[in-house]
Symmetry: C2
Subunit: 163 residues, 2 copies
Amino acid sequence: MPATLARASSRRRRAPAPIARVAGLDYDVLDELLGYSLRRAQVAILGTFEEATRGHGITPPRFTALVIIGANPGLSQAVLGSVLGIARSGAMMLVDWMVAQALVERRRKPDDGRTWGLTLTPQGARLLATLKQRVARTERRRSAALSARERAQLVRLLGKLSA
Amino acid sequence: MPATLARASSRRRRAPAPIARVAGLDYDVLDELLGYSLRRAQVAILGTFEEATRGHGITPPRFTALVIIGANPGLSQAVLGSVLGIARSGAMMLVDWMVAQALVERRRKPDDGRTWGLTLTPQGARLLATLKQRVARTERRRSAALSARERAQLVRLLGKLSA
DNA sequence: CGCGTTCGTTATATAGCACTACAATTTGCC
DNA sequence: GGCAAATTGTAGTGCTATATAACGAACGCG
């Protein structure tokens, strides 16, 4: 069985089980640590992401890749990889998958014969538009406990943290 | 090769490469999405965690397990698994590793012959005390761009999100 | 006492990546 | 022009984390 099969895989890992808050248990310092808070929040948001993209085989890195390619047509796989924080071989597999799904095209660039320029196909652009809406909507629903101000504040603080 | 080898592994996955901000690239909606902001922040914090625990073979789930066992001696593997959000078999492997490192002990409970009660060994307690300090310290250093108020606010907002 | 349930355990499978090595191409330097 | 160095895409391999399924032992309830 050729290794390329793994690349074409469109099966997705199920989102991790939500991290239950066990009643009557002492969480000690965990509640004050950023790492643990971040992990819990991310699992929660991951659940909404899966809900928004159900049935399309789209994982978070794949979604990010679509957005980036859509907003920056013609960029190379290497740049895409660095945006995603993955190695070139990973970017390669990711693009292979999207090409197989006819969401993305590789086009030779005239000025540099080494690199491919990545662009969305019409289907890719259509899917991206749909998913952008759905992801934004489910995220907003999930964070309904936060006011618009709080939500913006949260994004701002997270940005400061990773700067 | 028996599967138990995997269990005894004390090698850790390297923290993922920091997600570089590529200059001159359009990030489109990503900057407003919670999922992407969370992911970036988590990678950043993961880096500090690795720094704090270097050389001890302690991964985030292992650290969480140590804290929870330390604060709730005698709890079962199944409860531990649900706190961590992992399956029972995963909790099993995790505890196997900690027992092999002499950080944790399994003791039969007299009232229920099915379950083990987990407790820290003296070494486990010592290591935990050290790591708690170091993790808290490196997290604070990493989040130096945030004021104490902002940091507390961030933890509060994250908690609301995963509630 | 029998039956469903829970716990720990074991074995197996798989996704996601990293790492390495390699071929093609371009670029820099002489 | 020609050759070393750098960059890109590609292919193969391996490892880690974790899920899933199956099983025996112990428990609880009727």
